[in-house]
Amino acid sequence: MTEPAIHVSDVTKVFATPFRRRRIVALQHLNLEIAPGEIYGLLGPNGSGKSTTLKIILGLIEPTRGSVRIFGRDHSAVGVRRDIGFLPENAYFHKFLTGAETLRFHAKLSGLSGRETKSRIAELLATVGLARAGDARLSTYSKGMLQRIGLAQALIHHPKILVLDEPTAAIDPAGSRDIQNLIVSLKERGTTILLSSHLLTQVQEVCDRVGILHRGKLLREGHLEDLLAIENQTEFIVENATPDFLDGLEQQIASTNARVVRRKPQTSLEQFFLKVTETSDE
């Protein structure tokens, strides 16, 4: 049987406040299992424990109880992090370094050779659309550009697992779509992706499974089609049907005990925005 990429077993995290007057329970008996090559979305409102979960998986903080294993190895082993790339939420990185210098620094930390570093930097700058901005200091980057360089540093050492904390926060829809496409292409190459996000539409579009955290508890978890299916409703999307045909169909439906909930399908606002801006670019 294949080892799970990430296995979180009965993890509880309690933060003690200064002088231990109060204890904050950030996570309660969390269990997660993410298979290799899967895209898993961790959803939840602010303070639900998403970032704490990611930090525990990365070994940045230790769980109060429970265990975390990455491809079968304990998460606290430093070697485990060779398999993980991480993009923190709202990261600014070293503002005094250029984009290329930032990637070189992270490549060195990851143990890449000089020659590999050079080719990898060029490749990643192109991948995240920063080929022309590689020599500019990060202090001149927009939030979207910072997010892209953050994604590049997370990918510098070809990680098997990518952990993304709000990867498309502060990015315009087109940039967000690019990152979304990159996530899908990484999955096609076998990368396991764990992402936390507030943008539910995106999560819905890219994730295989999602988990919903609230006040440190995993309330629901599963495949999207299972979670989102409405048992007593059926959806057909029909193209180029004549109004007469649709009226007839509606009457036929009404003759049974069923009813039509919505006749005209709608696109999402994001899809509409992208279509309008892409048309304008052409």
Binding site: L58, L60, I61, R81, P88, Y92, L97, S110, G111
Partner: protein, 289 residues
């Protein structure tokens, strides 16, 4: 092992770049340089005294600004990395926390070495020029005197000028600054802001310069029992004896520092540095980020 050194070097290099690209530190070094140059104009007494006062002011300026640089530069490293969330992307890589701390230490040390070299070159140049002027004036003044008297006066001028002890004083200034870097790292490993770290280090700096006087006074009292000695030992650990690394008095007195004394001082500095760094790593390793 080599990859560990590579990671420490990478963090050290980035820390150095970070500090070198902050213009505020150039202002500090520039201010010290101005003080060193102006020291040659401040002293207008006798020839030998003039040289000694120039050395004293220049050494004092280097000492003070290098110490300030050590504290201020180190205090903002960890809070900045936490604020910018750089620390998460760094420690999510296969980087051990001791590598991160050592990288920070060596990065600041690199900056201090370069600052010290810049200030020392200027300091030695100023002293050399003053020494040459003093030699010329001495030869002019004693041109009619017996050669023995002239030789004696010239030896005195050279003794008061740039000599081995001046170089040793600069070396010990660097040692003191390195002690301050390691202690500042230690404080910032548990501090929640750089203001707390700088305030705590200002106190350490003050106490560290005064404690030798207090200790001498206390230990020379007959009442100094084991309790007082234990207390002094604890104080001596948490507040390093910074005055011990200050050789201005010897320099002014033109008295030579023995090799044994130099080794003792370097050893003391090394013990402080290693001790504080070990504590800093131990605290930082337990810190929840």
């Amino acid at each position: 092992m080599s990859s560990s050194l590579g990671r420490i070097a990478a963090i050290g290099r980035t820390t150095f770049t970070e500090l070198a690209r902050l213009r505020v530190f150039y202002v500090l070094v520039l201010f010290a340089l101005v003080l060193i140059i102006s020291s040659s104009f401040l002293a207008r007494i006798s020839l030998q005294q003039e040289l000694q006062v120039t050395k004293d002011i220049a050494l004092g300026a280097i000492n003070f600004f290098l110490s300030m640089l050590a504290i201020v530069a180190t205090a903002q490293l960890l809070p900045r990395d936490l604020e910018d969330r750089v620390i998460y992307s760094v420690l999510a890589k296969p980087v051990r926390r001791f590598e991160y701390m050592l990288g920070k230490f060596f990065g600041v040390l690199g900056l201090l070495v370069i600052s010290l070299v810049a200030m020392s070159i200027l300091c030695l140049a100023v002293i050399h020029l003053r020494e040459e002027a003093a030699v010329r004036e001495t030869m002019q003044q004693l041109s009619q005197s017996p050669s023995d008297e002239l030789d004696h006066a010239l030896v005195a001028v050279h003794q008061a000028g740039a000599n081995r002890d001046l170089i040793l004083a600069l070396l010990l200034t660097l040692t003191k600054a390195a002690v301050l870097v390691s202690l500042t790292l230690c404080v910032s490993s548990f501090a929640t802001s750089n203001i707390f770290t700088i305030s705590a280090m200002a106190m350490v700096y003050l106490v560290g310069h005064l404690e030798s006087i207090a200790r001498d006074y206390w230990l020379h009292q007959r009442a100094a029992g084991w309790l007082a000695r234990t207390f002094l030992a604890v104080v001596a650990f948490f507040f390093p004896d910074l005055q011990a690394f200050n050789l201005s008095d010897q320099i002014i007195a033109a008295s030579s520092l023995s090799n044994l004394m130099l080794l003792k001082l370097l050893g003391l500095g090394a013990i402080y540095i290693v001790g504080y760094i070990v504590i800093a790593i131990a605290i930082f390793s337990q810190r929840e980020l």
